[in-house]
């Protein structure tokens, strides 16, 4: 009885139903977007900061794809953010290519390419070796930029970049209203793509690799190809986030490749919760707001705070803030039932 359940057409149908059910949008999923739009009307003077938050959400989302779903632990995700940021920056400063949207595509392609090449070499390793190799990749890119500071501007960066009006119509205003809506729109597109990916059979395969690589090898899943694919996609998304970072700030320096940047995005994701799509939203927003407040108060205090948050998160809330809510929700529904 039990054996017949798992074979044949009905099983396939159930699997398809399961995937289709996960694809369906739930009502609660509108909440973060409504909040993002509400913020636009409530804090009209903080739009530059708001855009930065949205950029970090996208960056964290790209990390979630490889860390949360595929289980690749990397210390060098800033490499792709940096490649995207510099693609747009260099195109604007050296080639006078200042059209913003085509810049995003260029950044995605460049970062995706770097992701594909490094991923193809690095993703056959695991553990400490992988950590070191990803870290070294980001630092090597940074050092290359420093070596050719005649092109990259070195650690002084490329200041004072200007970009053409969006779609040739909407110019940028002092408070960054246009930017905010622009970044939000790009984030929505990217999020839709990521959501499609993680709920697809391909996304299921990634989760399988995260949970048990050996079993995935045993059932004949092309593990390396899947990992390289998702790594490339995540790199491209991180590149778009980097490009938006350059466009909203109108400058870029080599610090985007810093280890701090890789660590920061990981902290955001962990805070929010990995492998759950909206963890990136919660984590990045909370982190950025806290940082904005506390680092003005005292940067030292803030750094201690991040450290403490990480330690506490690992010890008491390994599944992030959303994980805590989920557990609380489960607890309430258990009580209601009994």
């Amino acid at each position: 009885m039990a054996a017949s359940k798992t074979t044949g057409a009905p099983a396939r149908e159930r699997a398809a139903n399961y995937l289709a059910k996960r694809h369906r949008f739930r009502l609660a999923e509108a909440l973060p977007w409504l909040i993002a739009i509400a913020v636009f009307f409530i804090f009209p003077t903080r739009m530059t900061f708001g855009s930065q938050v949205l950029v970090m959400v996208m960056f964290a989302l790209s990390l979630d794809l490889i860390l949360g779903y595929a289980g690749i632990v990397t210390l060098g995700h800033a490499a792709f953010f940096g490649v995207g940021a510099y693609t747009v920056g260099l195109a604007a400063a050296r080639l006078e290519w200042t059209e913003p949207i085509s810049g995003l595509f260029a950044a995605a392609i460049a970062a995706g390419l770097v992701g594909f090449i490094t991923g193809w070499f690095l993703l056959r390793y695991r553990g400490l070796t992988l950590l070191m190799l990803t870290l070294a990749t980001a630092i090597l890119l940074q050092e290359t930029g420093n070596l050719r500071s005649d092109i990259s501007g070195g650690y002084d960066g490329l200041p004072g970049l200007t970009f053409k009006p969006l779609l040739g119509m909407f110019d940028y205003d002092l408070y960054g209203h246009t930017y905010y809506l622009y970044v939000l729109a790009v984030l929505a597109v990217v999020f839709y793509l990521v959501r499609r990916i993680v709920y697809s059979p391909f996304g299921q395969a990634l989760t399988g690799i995260r949970e048990n690589v050996r079993r995935m090898h045993a059932i004949g899943s092309p593990v390396h190809r899947r990992l390289v694919t998702v790594y490339t996609i995540a790199a491209a998304i991180a590149g778009v986030a980097g490009a938006l970072f350059t466009q909203t700030n109108a400058y870029v320096t080599l610090t985007v490749f810093d280890f701090d940047n890789s660590a920061k995005v990981m902290v955001m994701l962990i805070l929010g919760g990995t492998g759950r799509l909206y963890g990136a939203f919660v984590g990045a927003a909370i982190y950025m707001v806290l940082e904005d407040y506390f680092s003005k108060l005292s940067p030292t205090f803030w750094q201690f705070g991040i450290g403490l948050m990480l330690v506490l998160a690992v010890l008491f809330a390994p599944r992030g803030i959303l994980g805590v809510f989920e557990r609380f929700g489960n607890y309430l529904s258990e009580r209601k039932r009994s």
């Binding site: 632990v73 190799l133 750094q303 450290g307």
Partner: protein, 290 residues
């Protein structure tokens, strides 16, 4: 002496001194990672703590440089055991990610505490007369401090080699690195062994931190800045291998010094390039087990 040979000797000498610092600081990390597979990103923070203890003792209490080094190593070693017993041991069976996060959290807290107590400006340390100036080795003068580092490093390498290869505890550690379950089943208390090596390794890191003040300068960012180098030494050398750590420290130390001498602009490029090449060819490092 011709110009070329002169530069080569300088690179070798400085590279050797740097390599000894790398070895002293990283060897504990290598052994603890080999034993438990624990990714300890707070190792640099232990080294930094050692450095600041040496600064406080020499500057505020007038203790000599060498006694301060010993005291810092012992104190940090003892404190690290407390951390191991109360925090680290809870995560031995966790994923890499959780270990990375916990220890990087500790490193951040350590950096913030150091910034609060000592400020962000790099500190220096008063050296005794015999460590200042140059020493004449017959054909050339060399800086005494680096000569001291090389001698100290050589002594520590010998002591550690003896402890590893010729004593009972060393044999137990090697057995546990090779196959932990097997070692436990023949009655070796790997847990206690780990606490011991963790304490000794952190103490050595603190010693390295104290030695680094004169060599590299000491500021709160030390904990993360040089951590990357220690981890690279461990990864390139192979986890849990004394021989590997020494070889990796030598290769990376000399390459880094040589790179900075010959091509100042390229800076840290060489270390990372060497790391990537070695790890792509031998993913487990020089002497690691595949």
């Amino acid at each position: 002496m011709p110009q070329f040979a002169n530069i080569a000797v300088s690179i070798l000498f400085d590279g050797l001194a740097y390599a000894m610092f790398l070895f002293i600081t990283s060897v504990g990390l290598s052994v603890t990672m080999g034993l438990m597979g624990f990714v300890n990103l707070a190792h640099g923070a232990f080294a930094m703590a050692g450095g600041y203890i040496v600064v406080t003792l020499t500057r505020s209490y007038g203790v000599g440089f060498v006694p301060s080094l010993v005291f810092a190593a012992v104190l940090v070693g003892a404190v690290s055991v407390v951390f191991e017993r109360f925090l680290y041991r809870r995560l031995y069976k966790s994923t890499d990610l959780e270990q990375v996060l916990l220890t990087i959290g500790l490193a951040f807290m350590a950096i913030a505490t150091a910034t609060y107590l000592y400020g962000p400006i790099p500190k220096s340390v008063p050296l005794p007369d015999w460590l200042q100036g140059d020493v004449n080795l017959g054909f050339r003068y060399f800086p005494s401090y680096r000569a001291f580092l090389i001698v100290l490093g050589a002594v520590l390498v010998s002591v550690l080699w003896y402890a590893f290869e010729r004593t009972n505890i060393g044999a137990k550690i090697r057995a546990a690195v090779d196959n932990r379950r097997m070692a436990e089943s023949v009655g070796i208390n790997v847990d206690r062994l780990f606490t011991l090596t963790f304490g000794v390794g952190s103490g050595l890191a603190a010693l390295g931190g104290g030695l680094a003040i004169q060599l590299l300068g000491l500021s709160p960012s030390f904990a993360v800045l040089y951590l990357v180098l220690f981890l690279i030494v461990v990864a390139v050398g192979g986890l849990g291998s004394l021989k590997g750590t020494l070889l990796a420290a030598l290769v990376l130390g000399i390459f880094d010094t040589g790179g900075k001498y010959l091509l100042a602009d390229a800076g840290g490029f060489f270390v990372y390039a060497v790391t990537v090449v070695v790890l792509l060819i031998k993913p487990a490092g020089f002497y690691g087990r595949e």
